[in-house]
Symmetry: D2
Subunit: 283 residues, 4 copies
């Protein structure tokens, strides 16, 4: 397995897309050298985007989180999250009525800016006519609701109302700390899709729509070609295969989900090959 220097390979690109968790930060905070790597890109005039499957946070919230961790001067415009695609879908498709949601009030705040009224699934009253005003359901966050009630309510809602269901993050789990993981909203979505038999609208890596959104964002006038962009990620089945398919080059880093000992085995087993492998973005 040949390792590359991140500094060396980025020389050949005009823009870099970074995954967030496992690439720039982890449960301990900033990954050593990540801040310097970004500053170096800036100094060289290489643009960048932080591209994350996060259904619970707006770019504003992410920018604050990064500032709290110690990253300096990453503007809001550098963040692209899958909730932005969910919002964009709801804005173009849901012209009236309410949007029910699973998640925290904070996560729903961002969706509220579509000017539609939002309501937690657990506050729905199934015996009222108002249930007929619910015109979409969006799955945002794994917190902020009682799961049992929410899942049961959702199943019953989808039996009464034939409405689009938007899943803003297809990840099944997320890391809590070195040893613990938690079940993410993508798992809840899978269970609901299987029970109801309905087809949900899903955003987030590896689906290419988020890569396309980021590309439109960073290069609205196509002054960058796809071949001038590098995706950097720690996960083969989301970051790397998605970016491969989208048509941009890919670098796998070994500071997150894919640990050094297993990288070669995983690449072979899954049949997903990055263009480069780097130990970390700091090197």
């Amino acid at each position: 397995m040949q390792l590359h220097s991140f500094r060396e390979i980025t020389k050949n690109y005009k823009a870099v897309f970074f995954d967030s968790f496992g690439v720039l930060k982890n449960y301990n905070g900033i990954i050593t050298g990540a801040q310097e790597a970004i500053i170096e890109l800036q100094n060289k005039g290489i643009d960048y985007i932080i591209l994350t499957n996060d259904a619970s946070k707006s770019p504003e919230m992410l920018a604050k989180d990064y500032a709290c961790l110690g990253f300096k001067d990453i503007p809001i415009s550098k963040f692209v999250t899958s909730i932005m695609l969910a919002k964009s879908f709801l804005q173009s498709k849901i012209k009236k009525g309410k949007i029910a949601y699973l998640g925290t009030e904070q996560s729903a705040h961002y969706i509220k800016s579509t000017r539609r009224e939002v309501i937690p699934v657990n506050d729905l009253n199934f015996n009222s006519d108002k249930i007929n005003d619910v015109n979409a359901l969006v799955l945002l966050d794994d917190e902020g609701f009682d799961w049992q009630t929410a899942i049961n309510n959702t199943v019953n809602l989808l039996r009464m109302r034939n409405i689009p269901v938007v899943v803003a993050n297809t990840d099944l789990i997320y890391p809590m700390n070195k040893n613990d993981i938690a079940v993410a909203i993508g798992s809840i979505a899978d269970i609901l899709e299987k029970i109801t038999g309905k087809h949900f609208i899903k955003f987030g890596k590896p689906d290419i729509q988020i890569f396309n959104y980021a590309y439109e964002h960073i290069s609205p006038k196509r002054h960058f070609k796809k071949s001038e962009i590098l995706m950097v990620g720690d996960t083969l089945t989301t970051d790397i295969i998605g970016a491969n398919k989208f048509g941009i080059d890919t670098a796998l880093v070994l500071t997150g989900n894919t640990i050094p000992d297993q990288a070669e085995f995983m690449i072979k087993t899954l049949g997903i090959t990055p263009d480069y492998i780097c130990e970390t973005v700091a090197g």
Copy 2:
């Protein structure tokens, strides 16, 4: 679609296996005529078993439930539930240590009679050495625990301990009342299996092990042949296909999951054909 009289067809059999919900009872209580149908079988000397995917109740508890509903004189020995198979597995395979469980204390009571210590998943202490005493996990009931904590704990338990996981009911949902359904423990099992990548041990229709268990139960010395037994159920994908495969005859009743209007369409779409179709067991 040709309809048959239940009374007529049972003449040809020495034993009848009944599914419970949607066949003998529903959310309103006893299905009209079900009590009389059972009495008539008894009078004719036709044996019977009530065979149910229920991971939360022992035969004792089911017999009490049936008595409360108004069924008279159905002895405990007439009930076969999937929890009996789970218990039997645990008894033969788990020789020491504790059994963790998802479900109510009541549902775990039955498992306790294996003489193993049982402990709710949400009471596990992951920072104690005692976690190493946990030698099996059993999924019993959808109630009695906080879902979010329990699912997260279970995922983490299965990362630390390579132990068998027993699923005592593979149903995804169950009916609450005419309009509402609830998510059953089988759905939780699916999500956990997908996240962990592990293979669980699953009991309950359509798997044939529960049919075999009932057969051993009713005919330990093989005085009944399989061809002398009729399975009666309301669900094509569990009762009917499972019994077909087990090699006994099948009758679909239209008092539960398969409603009269859709029976023919469902049979055709799923490719699952019962030997008989009866409107109800009372006829």
Copy 3:
């Protein structure tokens, strides 16, 4: 179920994306009125694209096919097929070596224009060192090879070479005539993915990359907004859900996969709702 006039609804758009089979043509030839519908769009200055999951034909071949059927003057530039995405991927990702393929020589001809050498899977010699020159595999067409040999060869190739596999059409079946259907290359892809455990790169509706490709094609300088485009299709699970997710409006026609009697039931069962339903494009 409210039916709309195709003529009326297209007034509100600047471009129309048509699915091909079941919308403009079927196994009998041109769908009545389809030619006139296209001419009318042209006269009104509404642009259009024919957007099809076809892994076996280049735009040139499709234009010829349409001309043979009797459609007049549909230029090559109006066709977007999923093989164009496969080719584009191979051009950007496979810099050297050979590309193995499943399909007819004719279908491979188009891929050859990537300037890579192409070779049928059934001509591979597994005992020669030349197997190491194979740097990609592309699944094009269900014809042109002996299935048993080809599937076995492919499985063995993917055990020896860790290379990207491109699936240029994810459809499972396609219609042959009123009564018969045939198994499409998408089914072969599924079986191969399951056996090998590898993740393939898949193009074609409902994945949004083909919609995006068509959008770039018709509106390279973004002079059309997404809200000014209408997708017309006969299949809910490909044409309609894909275009919904991509963010353009959708019209279901009832001249193909979704027959009038079942349209309402299918929409409800699948939870996929078009913006409009039209009997046909001719009306």
Copy 4:
């Protein structure tokens, strides 16, 4: 990983179930010491069964194959194959008409003894009324037919006739020699089930029905308890998990699918734990 001596552990059992390929034989012939292991069991009065997912061969044919390899004196009665379950199902469920099949004439010969007429799928005439005589379809063998025609014919048959489909082997692949594998009939079954949406009747490990069949076979009067039987296999996901669930003890051997280097990793990844691990049956 603790290794056990096969000779030592079998002392505690009254009967042993052997998987065939990878346990007693492989593509080179008899696995070293396998013949002696069986003779030793016989001398000690321990009964045995050879239990294999083989949809193409009757016990008679298997006994001949074993004799050709050099195994001496293994009577026909010692073989249990999944085709026996398929035959048993067809005998009890299909009272008249024809049985269509995929596979060689040789494999169909065994099914013929049900006294039903059998016909290869590729010989069906869809334009004749005789198609209505076809009352079951059985998938036997991956050879003996042109795949493309057969799969297309099967899909069309299942659209015309709502009949049970029996799959006599759920394995996806089988080994050809040290480096090559071939696609098994189980893979064809999966593709057909997905395309048609129908539920097939499937026999073969890990499903417990074949274990139960072997148990009835070896212990018709229950003179052996389940706890007195040991299953020996080389595959965790079929032999071991199936026998675990059936309630008998299990020994994994490392002469087939599970190679010594990966055994511990596979056990952990899949969450399937054998009671014993032996390098080989000869030790």
